[in-house]
Symmetry: D2
Subunit: 266 residues, 4 copies
């Protein structure tokens, strides 16, 4: 379904449409590409899955799919700060009133273990997106922060021990370019919200620390989203957020899940 | 994170909370269970993934996770018609003002091949859900309909042949129990929207038929969602819908995608 | 790619091939179908993903794809005991010397909680398969058993608590129809191999039990596979097995993994 | 489950084991990390999922998990040529007789469209692995090549058109460092094996070309694996290979699948 103008070959997508039906969004998805991502402090190489879509008016038969990919290929680097410009470029090149961009990629931060200080690299799933009209759009940042959660009920009722497990805290925010927050700050907010952060490598004194820290700091899935929400509420740079936690329960074969959504502008 | 009342063991979840933060939704997900699903014409056995969540007021520390699973286990069968009752039961048992239920499962329909009439079973992904308050909730049905799509541009510009591929048409509707539509009807609407339906088994005269039918009926991803939208617009039983199509392009390594959302009540 | 004989329509697959290259296996995969599975004690309804393939001699151009699906559709029920007959039917209908069948499906067992005795349904991923020639084939059973694992190092070095997590123990065996073992027995062997079994629902006295039981019974991933191997070694019905465990570490974002493979016939 | 030596903290993993059971493989999996991959012509940045495991003798209680990750973090770049050295390092540091490394990552090649010459980037899934003893191990390369396949039967029996679809050709080879083959060469062999290669972006003259090329070059799944096998047989640098193709049938909801495995050393 390629679509650019070429002499002597009919432009089927460019022909008029008479069904009187605008299309909410049309475009491409599952575009995998290597990118440079600038997180405001440094540039890192990673691999993204991209989706780009635009609104299509009722009288146009089709959009021009290959233009989306050309835009992606022209970008030297991506950031929360330049996503708005890419959004504007997309709307302009596709002659569209509104649209959506989604870029999902693994994001990496070097962390120091809590006692030994040993450095290792932690991976997070990140999604940056834009949505809206040329003169009224939002840019969003989302990060999945893996943590340990330890059950307060299990600790309270048991003679010793307490069940704990890996949890995924997902924080989404509306990003304000004039009042920026970094992905590293969001990761830290998430890690403070669990019973204990996690690291890629730990020495034994670190393992002792994280075991005891989680036991001293038990949290239900409800506590996790509330404690992260308190931090997000206190941050004036954030006008809209959602925070969810999925606890992959170690004593069940299913998950506990909670989400708080908050629009401070209301 | 179990939660029922038991003598002499403290009820940690039942204790008060002072953070002044209600939780939008809290509950369980990834509950896999065998179910009987009544589609209005017959009952079929299948396997569902369930998610059940409720709103939690600011002054309650936690919800009672095991009650969700007890509700699921009590159900003799599930249907679009009884999901509202399950929803009410959930809100009542969890003492919650509002909540959400999601059940996703493979759904099967016997189809006859277009020429030979040979019968075979076609599989569809279905999701039924409920969302809202006890006195104001909606029930939703969603079905993923696999079809063949054949590119009009490719047909037009080529001496012979045309690229085609598997596409997934996803139709979601607000279900009206007093004016019901069946999953089989939604599947048929989706299958009429592609270039040609697909079947689990075809004899050679059937394969000739579907090949020629798709070639005679080329559709862009935009055409697919528009043609399905026309059918959904014409159906007075449907007050809200969305229809998307993802074409797993045979000439690219990515997908073309389009979606139309429509609320007739506005 | 349908393939049955039909008058006046050429049988392309049936034509000879001159490339002198036999094909190790050819057939169909990702066939989703509802099945009845007989586990030797009762019949349960579930949904399977099937793959069926056969060897193709060097002088045949193609196999007859639709015959695989016809065989599946003819089966009233599936079991470890009748998989060999299905295998023979497949080889006979496809005129093939050897082949492979794979059926993967969720399998359910009712379990009683350890203290309260409350009953709930536990889900396991099961795969049954056959491989080989008509006169020399094997039938295999595989079950994924989720358990809790608790780290002995973390317990030993910490003042209190110990990190624990969900683990997946996968047991595969060569099934002997004349000396049968049930999936429920394999599930029990797996559940005895972790630090503690898991249940779909637990009352608070049960949660106390499983927390303390896991703390009293710490196991590295190495201990899990060794302890399961000891049980499988002691069972004379099993002549070949493999057992792996993947621990979804609660203090890391990656897994610990171990596997023991053993052929007692060597 | 961390494991390095630290004063005054017991080394549980290092203690002896009396169960008399060696462990076939034990280690870590699902380690996500950014890597530089040298494909013999240039270095590209990508993101890998790593698994590293070693054999554990019967008398050792556990392995030292964090050492695996330290080895990964020390690597400046990865290649088919240096994987053997990483393998040796792993066996030495873990005091192991044999082991396995698996690195899976998206790999990118710039391709020129067949008529317009427009350049775009194509993504492939690649897996490089090593397995064996310090003095007797193999290095393997695997690449998944997406192509278009067009059904010969459908073309033959239909008045016009022919069903086609995306297919995944997976080529695995034993890599010989002294007689190297590149991933780009393997990708080209795969792309020649389908009915037509695919590209990330095509102009309309390119789309005309690929549509007609596929129609002129129909292939069953059996033809694809045979034609790739002929190319791999003719290449003296390859002593062992397997080639499979999965065709995501556009007229069915399942796949056609074929595989040829060949050990030229036998």
């Amino acid at each position: 379904m390629n679509t650019e103008n070429n002499l002597h070959i009919p432009d089927v997508q460019g022909s008029p449409d008479k069904r009187e039906l605008p299309i909410t969004r049309v475009g491409v998805r599952d575009i995998q590409l290597p990118i440079k991502f600038n997180d405001g402090r440094a540039v890192q190489h990673t691999v993204a899955m991209a989706e780009m879509t635009v609104h299509l008016p009722h009288d146009k038969k089709g959009t021009h799919m290959s233009r989306f990919i050309e835009i992606l290929n022209e970008m030297a680097e991506f950031s929360l700060d330049n996503l708005g410009e890419i959004h504007s470029t997309m709307l302009s090149r596709l002659s569209a009133e509104e649209g959506t961009i989604n870029l999902a990629f693994p994001y990496f931060l070097e962390k120091s273990a809590p006692v030994s200080g040993m450095k290792s690299v932690m991976n997070y799933e990140v999604r940056i997106s834009s949505d809206g009209r040329a003169d009224d759009y939002g840019v969003y940042a989302e990060i999945t922060v893996p943590v340990t959660s330890l059950c307060p009920c299990s600790k309270e009722i048991s003679e010793y021990g307490a069940h704990n497990q890996r949890s995924h805290i997902i924080i989404s925010i509306l990003y304000d370019r004039n009042n920026p927050i970094t992905l590293a700050e969001l990761a830290a907010i998430g890690e403070n919200g669990g019973s204990c952060p996690i690291w890629a490598t730990l020495k034994r004194p670190d393992e002792k620390f994280v075991t005891e820290r989680a036991y001293e700091n038990p949290k239900f899935v409800e506590d996790i989203v509330r404690d992260v929400a308190i931090a997000l509420n206190a941050d004036e740079r954030i006008s809209w957020y959602s925070v969810s936690s999925e606890n992959f329960e170690s004593i069940h074969n299913h998950s506990a899940y909670a989400i708080i959504e908050c629009d401070k502008r209301l």
